[in-house]
Amino acid sequence: MLLQFENVTHTYQAGSPFQATAIQDVTLSIQSGEFTALIGHTGSGKSTLAQHMNALLSPTGGRVLLDGRDINQKGVSKKETRQRIGLVFQYAETQLFEETVAKDIAFGPKNLGLSQAETDERVREALSRVGLSDEIAEKSPFELSGGQMRRVAIAGVIAMRPEMLVLDEPAAGLDPMGREDMLALVKSFHEAGTTVVMISHSMDDVARLAKRIIVMEKGRVALEGTAEEVFRDAERLNRMDLDVPEVCRLSLRLREEGYDFPLCYRMEDAMTALEKLLKGEKNG
């Protein structure tokens, strides 16, 4: 699967005195199996971009192609696109509405027209994939904790068995423990073969998980590349009022001071490098 954006522009309320261009001339592609992070400030157009990925918004200029086909063309099934590309909104727990967790998760599969047996099977599978026990299946989603509710909402998207999952700030508003669990969950989706696009503004989260990073600024793609490539340009990120991960800052600082230190952006790498450096100092 290949998702491509070709010069995509989106202007809200075009022609009115309130018109606002949220994204402008965005060209990018997302390959099957990738873990891409989309970072940028509030209002940089991340969420608008995400909503173009499964045709919830259609571009006011440019095209979005899925396997070479324009997803906003007439005759291209939006339902099919949305089944293939699952989108988990920010604070996804606010979308829950059914009497029981199981029924809520079944909403997506039912909309796809699947049989009851198939739906039940998928509900069970989705629950276990988000790490929830079968026991809560018959509970009301409104009795659950915030973290659990969000998992149920994610399960609702997973149950459609998307090839690609777009998550908008999946860890927002969770406590530190919940954040860790949520990121581990996202990682597990990727490891199971799902293409993942994660929107975030936490550089540390992004650095840990994503292979590829796209930085948005004022509706445009400002930087794009592997984590190393993007974080090497700490100054540029700073100019955009974005931070580099803390570990990255440390290694940049050490290099500035004249130490032979690699540019790290994961805690583990930094630890190994530091150990090496300290040993070297002792010996020398």
Partner: protein
């Protein structure tokens, strides 16, 4: 992203009319409505047109915007016109269609009633276009506050209206988001029969209500935390004070009414329509 939803139809501009005291504007609208109903014949509408034209000019509104406000009324207008046209009766026959008779009186009546409707809408649009809803409720509260003597909860009413208005854009934004989230799960809000469409609203309305109640609870808590206890003894941030322009506006409106009454007295018979 839907932060820019226009609340009501307020058109932001800096003009004399925008700055008028909301109390004055509400009272003047009522006076204007009375004036429109006092108009005895078609000639009298000249004054109304002049008055509206002047207000529109002073408020720096695009005329197009004002005209647009009549659009939702077009069916009622046509209905009123046709009804008056054929059912007024009268003696002077203009056209006999066999099944219906078109009379001179009917024609005049039809024009008169349709014009009245148009001017009523234009007048009230002028108010809502130049006044922010919150300012409007503020003015309304002040106007109704004498009724507190008979235990009419003027402040509470205004506060409820203000809060309701404040949350319209928030809830719209929320509705948009939930709608998209459910669409992402394959829900279809756009096609299907009526019953299916109504059913499709359930996944939208339940989360919307849940969040509205949560917001209401939060807001109540936040207000209590700041010691809100109703209107008694509450001072205001914006104290409404009559300015020179307010008095001028009242004067101009009074002049309109006087002119219309005089015209009815002395000129009405002169022009036979």
């Amino acid at each position: 992203m839907m932060k820019n939803i226009t609340l009501g139809q307020y058109y932001p501009a800096d003009s004399v009319v925008h700055r008028l005291d909301p109390r004055v504007k509400i009272v003047l609208l009522i006076a204007f409505v009375v004036a429109v109903f006092l108009v005895p014949d078609l000639f009298g509408f000249v004054f109304v047109v002049l008055y509206l034209g002047l207000s529109c000019r002073l408020s720096r509104l695009p005329v197009r915007l004002l005209i647009k406000s009549i659009k939702p009324l077009r069916f009622i207008l046509i209905f009123t016109f046709v009804l008056n046209l054929f059912f007024t009766g009268g003696k002077t026959e203009l056209l006999n269609l066999g099944f219906a008779v078109l009379t001179r009186e009917g024609l005049l009546n039809a024009i008169r009633y349709s014009l009245r409707l148009v001017f009523l809408v234009l007048g009230s649009s002028l108010l809502t276009l130049t006044t922010q809803p919150v300012t409007l409720t503020d003015g309304l509260e002040r106007l109704l506050s004498p009724l507190k003597v008979i235990r009419f909860p003027a402040h509470e009413m205004a506060m409820m209206m203000t809060i309701a208005l404040r949350f319209i854009p928030t809830l719209l934004e929320e509705a948009d988001k939930i709608m998209k989230a459910q669409s992402a799960r394959g829900s279809d809000f756009e096609t299907g029969r009526l019953i299916q469409r109504v059913k499709a609203m359930v996944p939208l309305l339940v989360p919307l209500f849940v969040s509205a109640f949560r917001r209401a609870g939060d807001l109540a808590m936040a207000m209590e935390a700041r010691c809100y206890h109703g209107g008694e003894g509450r001072t205001r941030l914006h104290i409404l004070k009559m300015q020179k322009n307010d008095w001028i506006a009242i004067g101009v409106t009074a002049l309109l009414i006087v002119l219309i009454v005089l015209e009815g007295r002395f000129l009405s018979g002169y022009f036979a329509w």
